[in-house]
Symmetry: C2
Subunit: 321 residues, 2 copies
């Protein structure tokens, strides 16, 4: 990859997200909420909107709150692809264990999301960057087919599709650049316990870049040419981890879409911004935490993360013979 | 802490380790061995010997292999404090689960280690750096009492003492500078699930510096003034994790003991060297992996670890208003 002195594109690239908009009922050991703003596309778009213009494809029911739509509009998210259908918005309810990682799903009510068949508005078909949130792999594939000439396509998936729709998933994997999943999904998909060995197996399936999310342990960028270990910010009170993965993806893709090229340096910086945005997400319930961030608060966390991994690089290591 | 341009002390500080020498029988999902060189003091001394002169206090039975003693002598480890007693060397047998973290102890045969009461040779009493490996907290305390004026005392401990000898442990904690334990031990000792919140609770007990080991996820240095997140090197085949924690401690303390002062920069570099030495440890059975490392192989891994966390620091983060 060619290094460049410029770090920003002359023209910001368009970033498309296809996923869910939802309301979640969440219980943690600390607190609970009946109706938190959620859904993969919501978390992603909210995070990415701080960096670039987002094209959103999703569906909500006629019970969806206008204030939440207004927030996206204010953040300059393009809503041509957001359909409102008669019926209920997707609802998920879950209860987190004490470790704030494992969780039990209490119910999933798909509502209007059950018949979600993403059709891209004409204007979205020229999107440069694409994030396919966790939906059926065949729907993800159909989205990619609608895009004329994508520059960088990233996708999420989950155990349900890895086990339940392996052929569809393999077809989708074969045409994406980047897969963003957690460490247990890497193990399930690759059949390898070791995540680095697993990453190589998955890269052979298609995506040359793999982002392995590890919750409080941060995330690993496994590119075919290099690794980057990005820690999570030290958050003393994780309030609600729901959506942190999609928020990470939003920070990552949003930041990458405004850089001048996809190279080693910019991928690393985009990872840092993914971790920064995820750190805001876990501090409260739902996507509301992402609504009123300031440029200064984001920059401050980026500096904190840089300080977390700082080691003097000009150091001569002294070792006995 | 004052920064210094020099990174090395004019006179190398003496580093004392008090712990066990053992032979381990280890089973992993991949392989097994009947007799691997082990023990906390063994792993620690082997790792630290690449950086500084080590004073060793331990006990072995008359069945201990002379070749293993010879190795320590060759590495310039001071063995005045190594006692050989009539009887069997400490033996531990364990079987690792598929995740290569959880393990079942198959047996523990203390042998001569059962009556280990570390008495320091006169010359060791002026040691500057001290590592108290995982032994009874009251024995650790008695070692500290024998040292005239230690500069930096670090200790390990385990769930057995946290639950079984809490008062003794608190007394020892109150007089050390650094505690090196794993994340589940942080949770048990602090009563907090969140490791950053737990670190603050533990710092109130005495040690201002806490090193939280997280296996494949690396280690966190939680100092009262800053955090450093040190990743583990990407090892595609973890062969045997036994001793990796003590090896990390050996790399960390050994490196720190040869720097000019205990400050932010040097603590971070010492963490890197801890992770580097641990990466060699997990690649084979027992402490034999640490016997024949070269200066070049250690430097190479240090560079690899630096590349793993490299982000251009002069970057202007671009964020929308």
């Amino acid at each position: 990859m060619r290094k460049s002195d410029k770090s920003l594109r002359e023209k910001t690239m368009s970033l498309l997200v296809v996923g869910s908009m939802a309301y979640d009922a969440v219980e943690t050991p600390f607190d609970k909420i009946e109706k938190a703003l959620g859904g993969s596309a919501m978390f992603f778009a909210a995070a990415a909107s701080y960096f670039t213009r987002v094209n959103l494809v999703a569906v909500v029911g006629d019970d969806f709150d206008h204030d939440d739509i207004r927030f996206l509009r204010q953040k300059n998210v393009d809503l041509q692809g957001l359909k409102t259908e008669r019926g209920d918005t997707f609802r998920w309810a879950g209860r987190y264990h004490d470790n704030m990682i494992d969780r039990d799903t209490l119910y999933t009510r798909l509502g209007v999301f059950e018949n979600f068949h993403p059709l891209l508005p004409e204007q979205y078909k020229s999107s440069d960057f694409v994030f396919l949130a966790n939906i059926q792999p065949d729907l993800q594939y159909n989205v990619i087919r609608q895009i004329t000439k994508p520059m960088f396509v990233a996708m999420d998936t989950m155990n349900f599709w890895i086990s339940g729709a392996p052929d569809d998933l393999r077809r989708t994997l074969s045409v994406v650049d980047c897969l963003i999943i957690n460490d247990s999904e890497v193990r399930l998909l690759s059949g390898m316990y070791n995540i680095y060995a697993g990453a190589k197996v998955i890269q052979e399936m298609g995506p040359k870049t793999l982002i392995i999310k590890k919750g409080e342990h941060g995330a690993i960028l496994a590119h075919k040419d290099f690794y980057f270990a990005c820690p999570a910010l030290p958050i003393e009170k994780v309030f609600d981890p729901t959506g942190a993965g999609d928020t990470f993806a939003g920070g990552f893709m949003g930041y990458l879409a405004q850089t001048d090229e996809i190279n080693d340096s910019n991928l690393r910086r985009a990872m840092v911004m993914g971790a920064v945005m995820a750190s805001f997400c876990v501090e409260g319930f739902g996507a509301d935490c992402l609504k009123a961030l300031t440029k200064e608060s984001i920059k401050k966390r980026a500096s904190q993360l840089m300080a977390l991994i700082k080691v003097d690089a000009d150091h001569q290591w002294l070792i006995a013979e």
